[in-house]
């Protein structure tokens, strides 16, 4: 699904003494099938932006286009249900997303709500619980008796159970252990490729943005100040620093190596695996730019 934000502004508690502007003139085009990362420091407006992507928030100014649906400031929104079925959001704090008495029921809720037959909903729930590393015995527990990491997995399973075509992820792995992070990021990537999803990832992990995304946008003080491909964005460390961000660890390490070598490597590497390969070529004297 093609997503466009045109000159989007948003104010919380608009026209009250508590009015708080969170977005200013945001322009962003997320083409169907792309993997878009959104980065930016805390309070820069990322979560506010994401909530426009399924009509949870309506823009105070500007236009949000979700596929064929146009949501325009000041106009009455049309029926959002079809679009909400297609756009799955995993929120920053998964506890807010959980409510049912058992984990199984919680995961099944979304599909049931959108008319998926009970048997199919349960099948999906069990498969996903397994894929997300939730043990069988957890399914009958209350979601509120789980550890934080397990709650997050339940919330993610609940969203994936709707089989959305757009996956919107607000720091989906915060609080997961390292293996869990990697497994779940790999699962998202796998689904993205296999099902041709459009994926929007808000993350504090520059490493994840560099590894998985094909487009990166930077939010800063409520504005979308920069967007482009990961190589351009992460290669410009001065610019990143202006927005209180740093390059991924592997990029900073590459810079240290280059400082020691006294010359740059042939290409900027966005993952550890790429850098190991590039350095081994350099060691063997296989540089291109000699």
């Amino acid at each position: 699904m093609d997503i466009q934000l045109q000159q989007v502004g948003y104010a919380y508690a608009k026209d009250t003494p508590f009015e708080k502007r969170a977005l200013f003139d945001v322009n962003l085009h997320i083409p169907s099938g792309s993997y878009q990362a959104i980065i930016g420091h805390t309070g820069s407006g990322k979560s506010t932006l994401l909530q426009h992507l399924n009509g949870l928030l309506k823009p105070s100014e500007g236009i949000v286009k979700l596929g064929d649906l146009t949501i325009e400031a000041g106009k009455k929104a049309k029926n959002l249900k079809p679009v909400r079925q297609q756009i799955g959001i995993v929120f920053q704090f998964p506890e807010h997303q959980l409510f049912d008495e058992t984990v199984l029921k919680d995961i099944m809720f979304g599909p049931l709500n959108f008319g998926v037959p009970r048997e199919e909903a349960e099948r999906r729930a069990r498969v996903l619980a397994d894929q997300l590393g939730l043990p069988e015995e957890v399914l009958e527990k209350s979601p509120f008796d789980l550890s934080g990491g397990q709650m997050r997995r339940v919330a993610i399973a609940g969203v994936l159970a709707m089989e959305p075509s757009v996956l919107v992820l607000d720091e989906p792995t915060a609080g997961l252990d390292p293996r869990g992070r990697q497994e779940i990021m790999d699962l998202f990537h796998h689904l993205h490729m296999e099902k041709g999803l459009t994926t929007v990832l808000v993350t504090h992990s520059m490493e994840d943005a560099a590894r998985y995304a094909d487009r990166v946008a930077i939010m800063h003080d409520g504005r979308c100040v920069l967007s482009g491909n990961p190589i351009d964005i992460f290669g410009d460390e001065e610019r990143l620093a202006e927005y209180r961000l740093a390059a991924p660890r592997v990029v900073r390490f590459q810079r240290k190596v280059e400082a020691q070598l006294g010359y740059p490597l042939d290409r900027l590497c966005l993952t550890e695996e790429q850098l190991a390969l590039e350095l081994s070529r350099t060691v063997r004297g296989e540089r291109e730019s000699l």
């Binding site: 919380y12 508590f18 708080k20 930016g40 420091h41 805390t42 309070g43 979560s47 920053q92 704090f93 506890e95 807010h96 008796d145 789980l146 550890s147 934080g148 990491g149 397990q150 720091e171 915060a174 609080g175 997961l176 252990d177 390292p178 293996r179 869990g180 992070r181 504090h204 520059m206 209180r244 961000l245 740093a246 660890r249 592997v250 390490f253 240290k256 190596v257 020691q260 070598l261 550890e272 695996e273 850098l275 190991a276 390969l277 350095l279 081994s280 060691v283 063997r284």
Partner: protein, 281 residues
Amino acid sequence: MTEILSLHEVTYTYSPEEKEARKAVEGISFSVNDGEWIAIVGHNGSGKSTMAKLMNGLLFPQSGEVRVLGETLNEENLWEIRSQMGMVFQNPDNQFVGATVQDDVAFALENNGVPFKDMVVRVHESLAQVKMEKFLDSEPHHLSGGQKQRVAIAGALALKPRILILDEATSMLDPQGREEVLSTVRKLREETHLTVLSITHDLEEALLADRIFVLNNGHKYAEGTPQEIFSRGEELVALGLDLPFAMKMGNLLRANGVALNNEHMSEEELVNDVWTSNFNK
């Protein structure tokens, strides 16, 4: 070195009525010295939060003993001891009571009988320490996730505790916010001899601790200096944990045929080794 906190064969289960129920933590013993920085690592569900709650009396063990500041923690001394401990949880939302940010930070102080004059100063100081002084009158619920967490940390710092327990408290912050909070805590520790127990998945943070406790399935798996713990390498990965960047990078370089003399935990050492073993022979 004097001990400030210790656990002795502590066992806890959330469903004590069920005989077969899995224990959230089982037979855990360790001792923390006054002024130490301890990192606690372990997979999700390994019992870290349960252990943190046992340490400040939010939970009491079914068997074993928790000792804090020389006393066995019990219902009678709980409040006295808790006033010496600051605790910050992973999810800030459940921690707010005040209508504004400054009320919220003041609340804990008021509860602990801090005089009004000192209270105002401490509220401002601690909010400045986490760079949230501009938000004194904001409603906590209107802050972004990371901002909320900084307020929660300010609330704990305002108490000037002897022991600070951080339960994945920085996991919702951006990298710079995380670094700011951690260096604030480090500075405070130098000035006030604070003891820190930090539950974390961030191995670069754990690398800077005095000692690391590793939990696995409710049991203590290992304890030692970062050097001792991380030299276990792949064994940690099998527990669902990770290795510091320099170690992972070093392993990948070796696998790709780049010569290295040693295992390294710091990037600087690794860069040097890459240089001397391959380019400057």
